[in-house]
Amino acid sequence: MTRFVGVTRVAGVTRFAGMKDSCRIINDGASSTGPMNLFRELDPRTTLVVWGFHCVLLASISRYDVSKTLLLGAFPVFAFLAMNLRIQPFLRRLRIVVPFILLMVLANVWFDPSPVALRGIGQMPSGLLTGVVLASKAAVSILSLYVLEQTIPLDRLCTGLRGLRVPDALVDQLLFLHRYGLVVAAEADTMRRARDLRSIGKQGRGLLETTRLLGTFFLRCHDRSRRIHRSMLARGFSGSLPLPPSSLLTVRDFAWGGTLVTIFLISRWYP
């Protein structure tokens, strides 16, 4: 990583100071060059099936069972470490949901104070126990979602979804959401910079100004998305985004998919 004044280069992506928001999105997908590329090389359908299976099993664990939650949680942690992903984006996401998780834990303790006995630890309120399980499930889900989106770029994910016979309308929505998400982020960033450059101290950053800015922001996004849509139409877009065709599943897909699913099953139902 080379450092210039106000400019950092990370894995081929130039970031300018103050351009964080729109650059972050690009970085998230491009920054991880880990020793293990297995998940990136598998067919997206395999990855999706394995991931979906993991989610279902995780959700099915009883709310008193910390150990199984952690055992299943080991999978995304392992993938995270093996792929050498950056931790900051994950922590940022976690930070958004932490207040809700804490609230849930507190509510659990409040409504369910009856004690349960735990091997090796002694007694604790059963509400705390279920709270901890819920919190770990949430953290594991967020981590595995993060690993998933780092593993497959959205285009391949959508190819996978199409391969799994998910209706085109839904897949297109996902792709559009992503495209417009990038546009919206870039637009918000330009406006924020324009405001920051022209406001002095707290002046010009009050609630009223920000509210007005929000109104303009929506108009600009609308205008921008219309222009993008027009440019798509001009190039023959007719309502459905073409994606790379699915290739055939290989032996490796079955082998790895099978192995992972078996490991999950064992972790879920070990005695």
Partner: protein, 242 residues
């Protein structure tokens, strides 16, 4: 190949909010020529272009590309003839990588993914831009964006090329390069610009649009030397003549 001409006949357009963007526009752009439309900001230039692509319908009058009337029913056909370079290259590049973006139009035509990609790669090579193939459009300079967008349009081999302010974000060197590329093209070309120097070099015929009306039309080298005419319509002589 039989290139189409463009004809606008008594075209007027009023936006729903009441703004009259165009009134009584007559234009004949002959097949295979390079035609410039110049005019101050707000003259209705972009509106004119949007109308040719069928993004808005004239309130009165007709637009023909070749023999085809631009109307709702003919849009698919019209758009298969047109290549449009919009004012902001950012609006045109929206796929994850440049190469994907250039292949977008081809894939919309049903060309298989791999073939679209190899055609896209080929055109990038012709423009000496192979190095940006795998980059995200967000990472490009504005000159690179402009050329990437142009590649995405030219790869579809349009018979008519519409350019909206193509040089507004180019530095002198890229501007020259753009001009060189432009001159080698042979399809019917319409350039909308207030870069009169570019129009001087690029176009055979030019029309001046002001307040929604064509106020003058003629050979580029005659019209753009007429200082008083240009001043009347908030334009200035090309820099080289000053």
């Amino acid at each position: 190949m039989n290139l189409p001409r463009i004809s606008l006949d008594a075209v007027s357009l009023q936006y729903p909010c009441g703004t009259r963007a165009l009134h009584g526009v007559h234009l004949q752009i002959s097949a295979g020529s390079a035609f410039g439309i110049v005019g101050p900001n707000g003259a209705g230039k972009s509106t004119l272009l949007n109308m040719m692509c069928g993004f808005c319908q004239p309130t009165t009058g007709t637009v023909h590309i070749g023999d085809v009337l631009v109307e709702r029913r003919s849009l698919d056909h019209i758009r298969s003839l047109l290549g449009v370079l919009f004012q902001h290259a950012d609006d045109q590049l929206f796929q994850a990588t440049v190469i994907d973006d250039i292949g977008f139009g081809l894939r919309n035509r049903g060309i298989p993914y791999a073939q679209a990609e190899s055609q896209a790669r080929e055109i990038l090579r012709r423009f000496d831009l192979e190095s940006i193939a795998q980059k995200s459009p967000f990472q490009l300079s504005s000159g690179q964006k402009r050329f990437a967008a142009l590649c995405g349009v030219l790869v579809m081999e349009p018979q008519v090329l519409l350019l909206d302010e193509p040089t507004s974000d180019l530095d002198p060197r890229n501007r020259r390069r753009f001009l060189d590329v432009f001159r080698k093209l042979s399809m019917t070309r319409l350039v909308i610009s207030h870069d009169l120097d570019f129009v001087w070099d690029a176009c055979d015929t030019v029309a001046i649009l002001d307040k929604g009306q064509v106020v003058a039309q003629g050979p580029t080298r005659e019209l753009l030397q007429n200082e008083s005419l240009l001043l009347q319509h908030s334009l200035e002589l090309p820099l080289r003549l000053q």
